[in-house]
């Protein structure tokens, strides 16, 4: 194992976060704070408790997931796409590094950045709403697994993208609607029966409900099904990345 190479890629990517601190940290913190102010305090004050939890507290797991998913995908996709775009990917390809080591470096850094943002979001939330976490270890496990899985997914997008537009398509057109329609701001039970059934085809519903269960011990979906869904998606991402890399990374001729 080329540990120095993994370390080099990891630190190099983390350094990108430091250089773009406004975009990496401040932007998600500001947008999440706005959600808490508008939905948690202003509108939330007029909404009764859901599952015995105030509306402001209820939306914390959903907003946390929204940030983790979009951050993990964009961090990782950009991390691998940018050297492809500038051409500096040549030095990664020409170095004595295995595909696995490249993935560990890039995905590890992306997941770390998302984890840092996730923790900051939680701290930010605690200023606006009363926060309780019934199962902190499970919450942390889901947090880490979500960051890793969606960073892998983002890595795949970055490998396959040929331009900036393609890089943005999945996060903006697929992930954001899925999160908003995945019960981040409401319970599935509040929907008409038909849309409840449709919602069960939305994979993000399982992620949000899993996270919500770790906070409050109740959700629309069994925690076991939520965790298994996340693990299944993790495996799908690993297989997807392995297939793309075996065909030349999307960067090798």
């Amino acid at each position: 194992m080329n540990f120095y190479a993994i370390r080099a890629i990891y630190l190099h990517e983390m350094d990108r976060m430091r250089r773009t601190i406004g975009q990496s940290i401040l932007s998600p913190v500001i947008s999440t704070s706005l959600y808490f102010i508008v939905f948690g305090s202003v509108i939330g004050g007029m909404i009764p408790e859901l599952d015995g939890v105030s509306y402001g507290s209820f939306i914390v797991p959903g907003l946390l997931m929204l940030t983790l998913l979009t951050q993990s995908i964009s961090n990782s996709a950009f991390g691998i796409f940018f050297p492809k775009f500038t051409g500096s990917i040549y030095e990664v390809l020409a170095a004595p590094i295995s595909s696995l080591e490249i993935i560990i470096g890039f995905v590890g850094a992306s997941a770390s950045k998302s984890l840092i943002v996730g923790i900051i979001i939680l701290l930010t939330a605690s200023f606006f709403v009363e926060l309780e976490i019934q199962y902190p270890l499970l919450m942390f496990f889901l947090l880490v697994l979500t960051c890793l899985t969606f960073s892998l997914f983002g890595f795949l997008i970055g490998l396959l993208s040929n331009n900036f537009e393609q890089l943005q398509v999945v996060p903006l057109i697929i992930i954001t609607p899925l999160v908003f329609l995945g019960g981040s701001l409401y319970t599935i039970e509040m929907l008409p029966e038909f849309w409840q059934k449709v919602s069960y085809f939305n994979p993000v519903v399982y992620l949000i409900n899993g996270m919500r269960w770790s906070f409050y011990g109740s959700s629309d979906i069994s925690i076991l099904i939520s965790v298994l869904s996340l693990v299944a998606f993790t495996l799908a991402c690993i297989i997807g990345v392995a297939i793309v890399i075996s065909k030349g990374y999307g960067v090798k001729n």
Partner: protein
């Protein structure tokens, strides 16, 4: 001398069915400077990209220091440094950090004193804390060389090192390359500047349309394939030459004050003696005589045209 790189029956066909390399066989000796010479699209970059692990070969094999580039890729790549043709650098990074990053990629522990020495040797030390986008084109190219040297490779590939570089910097670059060779680094450079190959390469390999046309010592190639030209200055200008001299295919130059005669330098009978004799008999008075060796450029053009 030991072969450090050995290429056997190497071919590459891209997905669009373009055959970039056709059955290339080439041995590169340790500590030499070899120039891969060829026009644009000849296959030079594909060849070095395969050796460096960036492009996957279709068939054939390549070994570096007796290790196969695919089976033993860690051993081969750790010995290779690559300076790409394009200025492919992350513009917002700092010079010192970026060079150190490359050393890490090659599995080497941080070594600030070595990076300092490399940057000083390449006159970049003053710019160590500058962002790459603040550097001139020539400095960026030197950063690429510093990155390629950061893991102490024994084989260095330079893809068109003087593309877009001014004359002064090009000569500076040649000095850097020669110094590197003196420290035991084997240098393989691609170029379409004949002057560059002639100035610094020990051997030249001419590639065109994916085929290796010739490999030889630079000076031997010039000697064996080169033509010489005899320039004869005349006392009095001539309007036309006597028919007796037609067989020599002379060219009249300088408003009739000079004639030139081409001959094969390695030929047993150059025809010079009989030419001078016939000119004397034709009543032409000679003022001066010079010879010119044809350049590598002429040879290259000739080789490419023949194909």
């Amino acid at each position: 001398m030991k072969n450090i790189v050995s290429i056997k029956n190497l071919s590459k066909i891209y997905d669009n069915n373009f055959q970039a390399l056709k059955d290339i066989n080439l041995d590169i000796k340790k500590d030499e400077i070899i120039a891969l010479l060829g026009p644009n699209g000849a296959g030079k970059t594909t060849l070095i990209s395969i050796i460096c692990g960036i492009v996957i070969p279709t068939s054939g094999s390549v070994s570096v220091d007796d290790f196969d580039i695919i089976k033993d890729y860690r051993k081969t790549r750790s010995q290779i440094g690559l300076v790409p043709q394009e200025l492919t650098l992350e513009q917002f990074e700092f010079v010192f950090n970026n060079v150190s990053y490359t050393r890490g990629l090659y599995g080497k522990p941080p070594n600030p004193s070595l990076i300092e020495k490399i940057l000083k040797d390449l006159s970049l030390w003053d710019k160590r804390n500058s962002r790459i986008n603040e550097l001139s084109g020539g400095m960026k190219r030197r950063v690429l060389i510093a990155k390629a040297l950061s893991h102490e490779p024994s084989v260095l590939f330079l893809d068109e090192p003087s593309a877009g570089v001014d004359v002064e910097l090009r000569q500076e670059m040649w000095e850097v390359i020669k110094d590197l060779r003196n420290t035991g680094v084997t240098i393989i450079l691609t170029t379409h500047y004949i002057e560059e190959a002639e100035a610094i390469a020990d051997r030249v390999a001419v590639i065109n349309k994916g085929e290796l046309l010739v490999v030889d010592n630079t000076s031997d190639l010039v000697q064996s394939m080169g033509q010489k030209t005899l320039i004869i200055d005349l006392h009095d200008a001539v309007n036309s030459l006597p028919s007796k001299l037609d067989k020599y295919n002379l060219n009249v130059l300088n408003n009739g004050l000079s004639v030139s005669y081409n001959y094969a330098s390695k030929s047993k009978q150059t025809g010079i003696t009989s030419l001078l004799q016939d000119m004397k008999e034709a009543g032409l008075k000679l003022k001066d005589i010079n010879t010119e060796q044809s350049s590598l450029e002429n040879i290259f053009v000739e080789l490419v045209r023949e194909k």
